[in-house]
C-alpha cells in the first residue's frame, strides 16, 4: 500500500488526466485495475476539443497533442458511479472564480488535481500558472479533499512548486507536456489545428525525471509522477526520484490499456527480484 496525502493506494500505477473519457472510467477500472484514474480536466461548462488534427505521433513513443481540455463539464462528474479504483478529479478553468466554482461541485473522488499547466488552450492551464498561489489558497478554502497541483517542466519550477506548497497544496503532479510544433513540409502549414501542441511520451521522460528529482529534493513533498513512462523500469525511475504514484498516459495512447497490466507486472517482477517494497524506492535516488 502507498500512502499519498493520507489516502491508501494499492499500488503506484494510476492513469493520468486526459486519457480516459468519463463514460469509459467504469470499464477501464474494472478491466485493468489501475490504482486510480484521473478524470479529464473538467471545467464549469463543457468545452469542445480543438478541431483536428489534435493528436499526432512524431517519433517512436512520442506524441504531440492539443485536445485543448475538451470535456463535458463538471456536472457530468456525478454520472460516475462508485468504482473499484480511486478517482482523482482534474479541475481547470479560465479564472480563479471558475476553478472555485468547479471545485465546489466536485462531489466525488479522493483527490483534486488542479491543472495549471496545460499548454493547449489560451486562458486555461499554464495561462494561470503565475497565479498558482492565489488559486491554491482559494481552492483549499472550499474543499476538504487533498489538492494536488499539476505543473509543467518550467524553468521556474522550483518557485512555482514552492508557491503551490506554501499556499497549502497537499502535493504536486509532475510533469505536464512541453509545448512543441510540427510543420507539414508539403503545405508549410502547422500540422495541429491549434498550431502548437504538448510533447508527451518517452521524449520527455528524462525531463520528468529531472524535474521530479529537483522538486522532491527541495520540498520532500508528495508527488504524482508522470512523463513518458512506458515500462516498469521507467516507473521505478520516477519513484526513485520522489514520485509516490505513477501516471500512465501516452503509453496507453500508443499501446492501449493493456499496457497498465504489463507495466504493473514489470514493476512487481522488479520488486521481487530485488527483494524491495515500493516504500524502499520512493526518493531513494535523491537521498544518495
Amino acid at each position: 500500500m502507498i500512502n499519498l496525502a493520507g489516502i491508501q493506494f494499492k499500488d503506484p500505477i494510476i492513469i493520468s488526466s486526459g486519457i480516459v473519457t468519463l463514460s469509459k472510467i467504469q470499464e477501464v477500472c474494472k478491466n485493468y485495475l489501475p490504482s486510480a484514474i484521473t478524470t479529464k480536466t473538467l471545467t464549469l461548462k463543457p468545452l469542445n476539443p480543438h478541431d483536428p488534427p489534435t493528436l499526432v505521433k512524431f517519433h517512436d513513443k512520442c506524441y504531440l497533442n492539443a485536445i485543448g481540455l475538451g470535456n463535458p463539464g463538471i456536472d457530468e462528474l456525478k454520472k460516475i458511479n462508485e468504482e473499484e479504483c480511486k478517482l482523482i478529479v482534474s479541475v481547470g478553468g479560465s479564472s480563479i472564480d471558475e476553478i472555485m466554482e468547479v471545485i465546489k461541485r466536485v462531489d466525488r473522488g479522493e483527490i483534486i488535481e488542479l491543472n495549471l499547466s496545460s499548454p493547449n488552450r489560451k486562458g486555461y492551464g499554464e495561462s494561470l500558472a503565475s497565479y498558482v498561489y492565489e488559486v491554491v489558497k482559494n481552492v483549499k478554502g472550499v474543499t476538504n479533499k487533498p489538492v494536488f497541483v499539476k505543473l509543467g517542466p518550467w524553468d521556474n519550477i522550483i518557485e512555482s512548486a514552492g508557491r503551490a506548497i506554501s499556499a497549502g497544496a497537499d502535493g504536486l503532479s509532475l510533469i505536464n507536456t512541453v509545448k512543441g510544433m510540427v510543420i507539414d513540409v508539403e503545405t508549410f502549414k502547422k500540422v495541429m489545428h491549434y498550431g502548437t501542441g504538448g510533447i508527451s511520451g518517452k521524449c520527455i521522460h528524462p525531463l520528468a525525471v529531472r524535474i521530479i528529482h529537483d522538486v522532491y529534493k527541495e520540498y520532500n513533498v508528495d508527488i504524482i509522477g508522470m512523463g513518458g513512462v512506458f515500462s516498469g523500469i521507467d516507473a521505478i525511475e520516477l519513484m526513485s526520484v520522489g514520485a509516490k504514484l505513477i501516471g500512465l498516459g501516452t503509453v496507453i495512447i500508443d499501446e492501449g490499456y493493456s499496457s497498465i497490466i504489463r507495466i504493473r507486472k514489470e514493476m512487481e517482477e522488479y520488486l521481487k527480484e530485488k527483494g524491495l517494497k515500493y516504500s524502499d524506492i520512493i526518493g531513494v535516488a535523491v537521498k544518495k
Binding site: 486526459g18 486519457i19 473519457t21 468519463l22 463514460s23 469509459k24 470499464e27 479529464k40 476539443p49 478541431d51 483536428p52 488534427p53 489534435t54 493528436l55 499526432v56 505521433k57 512524431f58 497533442n65 485536445i67 475538451g70 463535458p72 510543420i183 507539414d184 513540409v185 508539403e186 503545405t187 502549414k189 502547422k190 500540422v191 495541429m192 489545428h193 498550431g195 495512447i253 492501449g256
Partner: protein
C-alpha cells in the same frame, strides 16, 4: 504520422477514387487510417487493401480534391481495433460503395482460406460468392446508419457516421453509447449501439 508517397490515384466511378500509397506498416484487418490535412482537418479512411508496402484507399471526390495535386500525404495509423480472423466463415453485408469499408477484411480472410460470402445491397461484386443466407461465424457490415437495425444483432458494423477527432480514444468525440468508434471500433457489434 508519416509522409506517404502516392503511387497512383484514379477515378473508379463518379463517386469514388482509388488511391494507392506507400505505407510501411501493414494494417491488421479491422483497422483504419486517417488522412491529415495539416492545420485543417483529419479524415478517417477505411482500408480497401494492403499489398507489399502499398496501402489502397477509396475516397470520395471531395476528399480526392484535397490531395489531387500532392505527391505525398500525411497518413496516421494504423488505427482502431484489429479483428482476429480465427473463424472459418465470414459473411460481409454492404450497401453500395460502402463495400469498400470492409473489403480489406474480406480479402485478408479469403487469403487465409476463410470461407467468405457477401451480400451486396444494391450492388454487385464478382470477387466473392453471393450469400444465400446469414449463416456465418462472423458477420461484418457497412451500411448507412438508418439500415443498422436491419442487421443481425451479432454483426459487426463499420461505424462511419460518427464524427472523429483525435482518432486515438482520448478526446471522446467519437463516443457512441459508451463505445469509442476509434479504438473500440471502427467495427462494433450492432447490439452495442442500437437500442
Amino acid at each position: 504520422m508519416i509522409y506517404s508517397e502516392i503511387l497512383y490515384s484514379k477515378k473508379i466511378s463518379n463517386n469514388l477514387y482509388e488511391i494507392a500509397t506507400f505505407f510501411p506498416q501493414k494494417p491488421q484487418p479491422g483497422q483504419f487510417v486517417s488522412l491529415i490535412i495539416a492545420g485543417e482537418k483529419e479524415i478517417p479512411l477505411s482500408i480497401t487493401d494492403y499489398y507489399e508496402g502499398i496501402l489502397f484507399l477509396h475516397v470520395s471526390p471531395k476528399i480526392y480534391d484535397l490531395i489531387r495535386d500532392r505527391k505525398k500525404i500525411l497518413i496516421k495509423g494504423p488505427l482502431g481495433r484489429p479483428l482476429k480472423l480465427t473463424v472459418s466463415s465470414i459473411l460481409g453485408i454492404a450497401y453500395k460503395d460502402l463495400l469498400y469499408d470492409i473489403l480489406y477484411i474480406l480479402r485478408e480472410a479469403k487469403r487465409k482460406g476463410i470461407n467468405v460470402k457477401v451480400r451486396c445491397i444494391e450492388c454487385n461484386t464478382k470477387e466473392f460468392p453471393k450469400a444465400d443466407d446469414e449463416k456465418a461465424d462472423l458477420i461484418i457490415a457497412s451500411v448507412p446508419k438508418d439500415m443498422i437495425s436491419s442487421l443481425p444483432k451479432e454483426a459487426l458494423v463499420y461505424v462511419r457516421w460518427v464524427k472523429m477527432n483525435c482518432m486515438l480514444g482520448v478526446c471522446g468525440v467519437c463516443e457512441i453509447k459508451e463505445n469509442l468508434a476509434c479504438i473500440d471500433g471502427p467495427l462494433i457489434k450492432v447490439s452495442k449501439i442500437v437500442d
